[in-house]
Symmetry: C2
Subunit: 342 residues, 2 copies
Amino acid sequence: MTREGAEKDPPRGARMRDVAKAARVSTMTVSRALTEPAKVSAEMRARVAEAIRAVGYVPNKLAGSLSSSRTQVIGLVVPSIENSLFAATIQGISDVLRRHDHQLMIADSGYSLEAEEAAIRAFLEQRVAGLILHDTTHTPTAVRMIRASGVPVVENGTLTPEPLDMVVSYSNADAAQAMTLHLARLGYRRIGFVSLHAAANARSRDRRRGYGAALEQAGLAFDPALVLEMPPGLASGAEALVRLVEREAPADAIFFAGDVLAMGASLECARRGWAVPGKVALAAFDNFDLLGHLVPPVTTLRLPRQEIGRRSAQVLLDRIQGRATGPVSVDLRFEIIHRAST
Amino acid sequence: MTREGAEKDPPRGARMRDVAKAARVSTMTVSRALTEPAKVSAEMRARVAEAIRAVGYVPNKLAGSLSSSRTQVIGLVVPSIENSLFAATIQGISDVLRRHDHQLMIADSGYSLEAEEAAIRAFLEQRVAGLILHDTTHTPTAVRMIRASGVPVVENGTLTPEPLDMVVSYSNADAAQAMTLHLARLGYRRIGFVSLHAAANARSRDRRRGYGAALEQAGLAFDPALVLEMPPGLASGAEALVRLVEREAPADAIFFAGDVLAMGASLECARRGWAVPGKVALAAFDNFDLLGHLVPPVTTLRLPRQEIGRRSAQVLLDRIQGRATGPVSVDLRFEIIHRAST
DNA sequence: TTGTAAGCGTTATCAA
DNA sequence: TTGATAACGCTTACAA
């Protein structure tokens, strides 16, 4: 015998047993009154409710989950919490989960596969009911752990051809292709392309592929000198702009397929007094709201950021609650918003 | 007898017992090897490690937490996940927690006290080790539950005089006062003040108080017509700007103490060709990066967003791990960044 | 340094 | 509709 000194010391927190005693019923009746009220008579329900208030009972989900081997926690791994683009998706997830009494655990990988693996391991140790991963490339160990656990997973970053389980995204390739074609149709012939580091990022790679496909489709030559990879940030966009414009054969339009790059470029044009689109046309990949308020407003893609979050949560819950089985691939719509910058 | 059919069916997931069997040791040795390796001989450690790999063991923290009544989960409630200002704080929290092997659960209240209460209840049911709340006003029930639970809490929104437990913030009143004084010293006499809805928001109230105090200190009259409350958003900022400038006695400077209001105003000036600060000076409360890239760059406060998150996590962990006791109030520094808009 | 036994607070199962 | 009992998978407390 060990733990219980003798019913004394910090009586920290009432247990279900205390509620049962106060209501003079069994713990099972309390449990049922809480989780399946329909299976309990009205009188019992009232007595239990009263007892719960009386003793100030707060259910222990840890114990409940251990016993039922069910959790109401979803684990989410994003590359960066701070990046506002992911914030919209997180909001979408959170909204849906809250309506279904689920909790959200978040980890960020800082764009590192190893950190993602560590986060996934931690989530599996917590026995999350499901996972949402923004990235679509993972370490072999991460893949193995997920497979072995049997936990449903949604991937978000891009419409990967071989998902772990379920995917919810728009097509980065299609989106980049559509925007590039849009520029070509407007008459631009030397279309620059600026993205984030493509080697480490499936999204950037897909966008670049779309850009290339569009050039070919439009009968434009591919000029490697017009393609730049930059780190994220406003300053990067400004620098890329200058490098693509101040050269022998300058770009007549630039498509910024990453983060706040276009924003930085637009602001740099304002500072230098460069006419947009007179001197150079600007197009962006995202950040719909802000870009529309710049002078001139910037042509961009409207991406279903929140929708990705909402749908991800929904397909995950459908699977968890047994309403659906089998693979899921949701291809969400994007939209080109043509504004004065092109 | 009940649950265990008879050692068959879905052998879903190895347990510590399986590891122990494979390593031919007791479960306690496995447990120790995992949590206090120093207390286990090198040979045992190796055997356990090997067995863990062999059976593909993923520890069940639910069971561990139930048994030890310790959790490694911190609950965070923010008004809005999508708002990028909170994102920086969340990032700070996440960074520190990860280094200390803790997990982060996030809920958003949508600026509703009732939703905050619901989130807090859910977190307490999960037996979180600590709470971080962005808001400083709570429902009586929420306060009671937190007190009864005994979990440590950090509040973030503003330096509230009567915290639940610990506070980590800068002083919204001091910051607003400093900026208003700054404008007065530059010679502006009719300083407008635009904030978010103050009745529902302790932060807005504190900022308004600081604004008033500064006017008095500078010997400027308080003109209620120069004070506006707006909903958040770029469009709001633009509207407030126009209302304060296009009037008989226009403001000569406007201090936007909320969200992206200043950004909206600056962009509206660009659209209308209004000289800044010639026609009207603009000052903001936050959003340091972006505002510095506008034309002209906007004077603003640099607030310790990430730092708030990091320190919050730190004081919480200190308390949880018994390295500290008693009240904590961390008053973080802000900074006025004077730029061309004033 | 290692092992044994009890118990953490719930829920599944079966019986009444 | 309600209750008794045995798990859930781990850690605490103590003994060896």
